[in-house]
Subunit: 561 residues, 2 copies
């Protein structure tokens, strides 16, 4: 099995006729999926998603792939293929289009509708190429073919890419629900046909590679949701992803069954379900939906609310209900149904929401105590099916953390892919498919690009390190005014601290020490601002560390008058 070496260098030029693959996101992490394919000097991109930040990325709104690798080659991009409409596959599209507005966006009807709604918010009118499963489209030297896959959003696609270097199958995200809600099965037959033709490289979704067996059919959730709504005493509040059309459909069906009206709560839920309804993916009986502003007019037992916030997002409706900071006030007898996964990293936030809702008297039904969610990603048993029908010569696990990609690699080895034809790569690792063999050829920069407020990329890892220190320890600033003519102290030192938890009275104890240190320093010779800053930082830092065993940020400011 090939692993990226820690000090991979710049790759050599791609061999004539070869295919180069560089993931700018999605390998070693769950999110910001983006793979760049290069052949004959041209580029094809598959997906362009965002990653949501973890606690070590404080204050960050979104994390984007770093486009640096292709920044100077935007004109070489033939197309951007979007496999489906989840944020971790389409969320970074507006930022990519800022680099070049007319990159053709290729995807299914629903995917294009969702990305277009997003681009409208960014005031971008995209160039769209709508495709359906079974079709072939040529983009420059890339001959693509699309296959239906089942996932937790309708209309998802896998893409096969044919070049003279060989045939690559990229699954996107998928599972193999054999009784899908919309009857649209993952196209195992199509994949078998590719297998017969000869798949030179399989790139397949690793998210659930550690999970043994098979994902339960989405259909099996319906009776559980129905039972929750049937037996609920008062209001039912359902939290779900704003893109999970089939889950929302099941909730609406159950509400209609039991004579309850449905109100959608939250901007993204209302927008996406509007799109899904307009395009026919969501079937809504007339009169079922009421406006969320009218819910107080209905008796609680006649109502189902569908909202976002299933991941404990602090600003979402559900968190605000848990904190009594929302017009909808949870009361004894209400039922909250969290019909969603628990995305790793969100456990603490979700737990806080469940405790808050429970405290106000709600019964909370979640995947921990009822079968109200199934994953959108194929488990190990399904991944084996795919490996066995495609019989790839080379395998590259994608979309997952290290643990998932490694588990997926082991599955591939079990089905007979030779271990030295399995490539585990990370973001930025360059994989070349040449003469039928996939090999690691080098690495390019593929770091995190942070979106914070309106700025993209201004917040660096350096600023984040500062935030972590400030967030854990606060800061102490010491202002000193120096007479620029004489070089003598003209004012201060004045000392300020925030978040340090150090008593201001104790802080003032350090002033004589600073003054003494400055005098000694002056006695040693010339004192420039930089030297004063150094002396002050050392004196204060040592005192705080010795006295409190803490390391706040020390910020000496020397100002000349």
């Amino acid at each position: 099995m090939s692993h990226p070496h820690p000090d991979l260098g710049t790759p050599p030029p791609l061999a004539e006729g070869g295919l180069r693959i560089v993931a700018l996101g999605g390998l070693g992490e769950i999110g910001r999926n983006m793979a760049v394919f290069e052949h004959d000097g041209r580029l094809l991109i598959v997906d362009c998603g965002v990653l949501f930040p973890e606690p070590e990325q404080p204050g960050i709104d979104l994390i984007l792939p770093d486009f640096e690798y292709i920044r100077d080659r935007m004109d070489d991009v033939e197309a951007l293929v979007l496999t489906h409409g989840h944020e971790d596959h389409i969320g970074a599209v507006p930022y990519l289009l800022r680099e070049r507005r007319d990159i053709p966006i290729v995807g299914s009807k629903l995917t294009l509708a969702l990305v277009e709604a997003k681009l409208t918010e960014h005031r971008i009118q995209p160039v769209k190429v709508e495709v359906v499963e079974g079709e072939r489209h040529r983009f420059g030297p890339f001959e693509t073919e699309f296959f239906a896959v089942n996932h937790s959003i309708p209309d998802a696609l896998a893409v096969a890419i044919r070049t003279s270097a060989g045939l690559v199958l990229h699954t996107g995200d998928f599972r193999m629900d054999q009784l899908p809600m919309d009857g649209r099965l993952t196209d195992l037959g199509g994949f078998a046909r590719l297998g017969a033709e000869g798949v030179d490289l399989l790139m397949s979704d690793s998210t659930n590679a550690e999970v043994p067996g098979f994902v339960t059919s989405e259909r099996e959730i319906a009776p559980v949701i129905d039972e929750v709504i049937r037996t609920a005493q008062k209001r039912v509040i359902v939290a779900s992803f704003a893109s999970h059309v089939h889950r929302v459909q099941q909730v609406m069906d159950a509400a209609a069954n039991h004579g309850r009206k449905v109100a959608l709560v939250g901007r993204s839920m209302i927008r996406n379900m509007g799109i899904a309804r307009d395009l026919g993916y969501l079937k809504v009986p007339p009169e079922l939906i009421i406006d969320s502003r009218d819910v107080e007019a209905l008796p609680p037992e006649d109502l189902v609310l569908i909202c976002t916030g299933s991941q404990g997002e602090p600003m979402a409706a559900l968190s605000r209900m848990a904190n009594r900071d929302h017009p909808i006030r949870i009361a004894e007898g209400d039922t909250v149904l969290m019909a969603s996964s628990l995305v790793p990293g969100n456990e603490t936030a979700v737990n806080r929401v469940i405790n808050g809702l429970t405290r106000w008297g709600a019964r909370v039904v979640h995947k921990g105590n009822a079968k109200v969610h199934v994953s959108g990603h194929a488990a190990a048993g399904e991944l084996l099916y795919l490996l066995n029908v495609t019989r790839p010569s080379n395998f590259m696990p994608v979309h997952g953390e290290w643990r998932h990609m490694r588990a997926h690699a082991e599955l591939a080895a079990l089905t007979g892919v030779p271990r030295d034809h399995i490539v585990i790569a990370e973001d930025g690792v360059v994989v070349d498919l040449v003469d039928g063999r996939a090999r690691i050829a080098g690495a390019v920069s593929a770091g995190y690009v942070y979106v914070d407020g309106t700025s993209v990329g201004d917040v660096t890892d350096f600023a984040l390190k500062d935030r972590r220190i400030l967030g854990e320890e606060g800061f102490i600033s010491i202002v000193i005014v120096v007479d620029s003519a004489t070089g003598k102290l003209a004012g201060g030192p004045e000392i300020h601290a925030r978040g340090s938890g150090i008593d201001p009275d104790m802080l003032s104890e350090i002033l004589p020490q600073i003054e003494r240190a400055l005098e000694n320093n002056a006695a040693d010779g010339v004192a420039d601002a930089q030297q004063i800053r150094r002396v002050v930082r050392r004196t204060v830092g040592r005192w705080v560390s010795d006295t409190f065993r803490r390391r706040p940020m020390i910020v000496p400011v020397v100002i000349e008058v």
Copy 2:
């Protein structure tokens, strides 16, 4: 069911002959367990533990109960009963003893040995009262009786407290393993005897009240651990809690079975297992243990290392191995066995460790993929047994978050405890047992007391709020020097920013705006330092918000020369 009302006031004086119970921790949270019992003007405390901080408490080392409620009444404390030796039950004892050194500490042999080792580090020599199950001890007006309970540490006790107000049973933490490793069963017979006598109030561990059924016997883990060690190719590194004597015993037995030596890694692991061995709780064959500095001399296949870090603690051995920041370097073929629970809140950290270890080639066995851990807390099935044998007149769930206490209350109601005799309290809620009825009587302050470095309580929620702002947004400081004689600007404005992610060149754009604002302000009349600060804060804050949609901390500093 009684719930605490959000605006409970100071309680009235305790009725003559009544028993007052105030939990200063452990209700509404998992950790810092501490219950204060008052009768006839005297106090008895059960447990005194710490809570480990969550991400919203950045930089904090430990969270203690607030002793304010009893600070003026330390002389009324008859004794501190410790139910067992886990940190969330004994960790705050050194801080309580700072208030009064000679409070008698009551506990079993192992519990006292563990707390004594801790107190030695704080240079405190405690007054100890060693007790064993089956014994009765009188502490002032409190007649106590101790019962064996099985938990994830040996020698745990439940305590019954008899006063003229009635009989209270406090379970401590427990489970009902029917085939315990040490043969020491939870004393169901003893509890039945109390039930026959009449339990006026049951206070019982709620941690696993949401988990249906029964906790598997600790014994069933042994064959799994044995198999992991038998089939491991190279080194086996086991991560476990430093107090889990029986788990460590199982690992040592398996290592001995397969001819491997064992090295203990980490200060707390070495210390606690030394105590357990000296007291006969851990049986270690001679020659099994080697010093961790000698591990390189042994072939990897002859070695088992036992370390801490199973919760992803960044400074623990396992995290450092995952980051290649530890003398023990993980290599392809090594096996890491995380034989422990995953404490809520630690998911992200543990996931990072698993990914890091996997990246270096280790196979990681954890509770997600093998039966290598069982909980120390009774599940719903076991809790029903306890409720049925004790048949309490009143019930108060303890040790758990809201969701757990509420689930436990439902279990009590199912066994026939009248709903209006069930009291769900929070930390600081005052519960009085008077005339055979437990009722909420008011509330006292029971906030978090933070330990940060060497200081206790200096870091307040106010400082933490500052840390959160600084950690998410950084700060911008603006220094202005004013001539104290003329009131005119004598230097600056100088602007500094850290963690804000705002380009220094852009920052300087705001300087003319500040100067203009100061001029306008001066034109309006007298400008004192406070007014200048206000103007500067408003000007800079508005500019940052408009330009970047961010809210860093704005720190104006006015210095007079």
